[in-house]
């Protein structure tokens, strides 16, 4: 944590470790995307097959929730999925064990294990579903707040807060639990035990990226759907 001047109290701290890890994740994604993009062929190479399967996976998410209408927000869901997956997997590298032994006073964990990162992602989901809803329906979008009857207004308003909040909390808590488990395992038995936890975490990393992007996709699809 370092302090930055010129901002009020809760906003003047920057978590440098999270920032560095997020930058590493973004650099990895950029490099891999650039390599995949290099020479595309009709008969794909291994790297191109990998890129295509990632695309197919993200497209299956939007297809499952919004059908072919989902292609409009595929760019957002795909970016979410790829960033979260890379970030989660980055946390499974043994960086934190090296850091624990070296005595560096920070925590080099996955960037999604910090709720600032996941809050940013969740807020973008909120903005996106407002954007797609308003683009689709215009000002009639706000009619869904009083949709079954005007008595549902408070419930619908609260939903706009709980949706990003639950997205944020789910990803953050899952990744943090994994990191803490791995650290506990490391301090009990540094040679074999963390490997077991890390293998479990590889699965969790994938599932959480999938859940985050599919729920975002559901929210966007739900609020930009046609009225019946």
């Amino acid at each position: 944590m370092i302090e930055v001047g010129g901002l009020p109290a809760p906003f003047n701290h920057v978590n440098v470790d999270t920032l560095i890890m997020a930058w590493i994740a973004m650099a990895l994604i950029l490099v891999i995307a650039f390599l995949v993009r290099q020479n595309l062929k009709v008969y794909p190479t291994k790297l191109q097959t990998f890129g295509e399967s990632v695309y197919d996976l993200t497209r299956s998410i939007t297809m499952a929730t919004a059908g072919s209408r989902g292609d409009a927000f595929l760019f957002f869901i795909g970016s979410l999925f790829i960033f979260i997956l890379t970030a989660n997997l980055l946390g499974q590298l043994p960086l934190r064990f090296i850091q624990m032994m070296s005595g560096y006073p920070g925590e080099l964990i996955a960037p999604t294990g910090d709720f600032n990162t996941t809050a940013a992602l969740a807020i973008f989901t909120l903005i996106m579903y407002f954007y797609f809803g308003i683009r689709k329906k215009g000002l009639k979008y706000f009619k869904h707040y009083v949709q079954p009857s005007p008595f549902f207004l408070p419930v619908n308003l609260v939903e706009d807060v709980t949706r990003p909040f639950s997205l944020m909390l789910r990803l953050y808590a899952n990744i943090l639990v994994g990191e803490i488990l791995a650290m506990v395992a490391f301090s009990i038995m540094p040679y074999v035990l963390p490997v077991v936890v890390i293998f479990l975490e590889l699965f969790v990393a994938f599932v959480q990226a999938y859940i985050f992007s599919i729920l975002s996709s559901v929210y966007i699809a739900l609020l930009s759907a046609e009225d019946h």
């Binding site: 909390l169 808590a173 899952n174 999938y210 859940i211 729920l215 559901v218």
Partner: protein, 78 residues
């Protein structure tokens, strides 16, 4: 009882009690998921996204317990 002792007791209790509900919920859900796949194997592709959506929703309740534990621990225990 000192506040820090109470917090140390409350944290693990929060995690444990909060885990009961999601455990039951996820077990019920997964058994229904496997049953339906056993009956109709071709439905698996259509069912899996909904399974994961519900998994995320149910699991969140357990994570509330963990987060409250973490906050309590950082506040009083550390």
């Amino acid at each position: 009882m000192e506040p820090s002792t109470a917090a140390l007791l409350a944290g693990p209790l929060a995690v444990g009690i909060a885990a009961i509900g999601p455990a039951i919920g996820i077990s019920l859900m997964t058994s229904a998921y496997f049953n339906s796949i056993a009956r109709q194997p071709e439905i698996q592709g259509g069912l899996t996204p909904y399974y994961f959506i519900t998994l995320g929703v149910v699991e969140l309740l357990g994570l509330f317990g963990f987060v409250s534990f973490y906050l309590l621990f950082n506040r009083f225990g550390g």
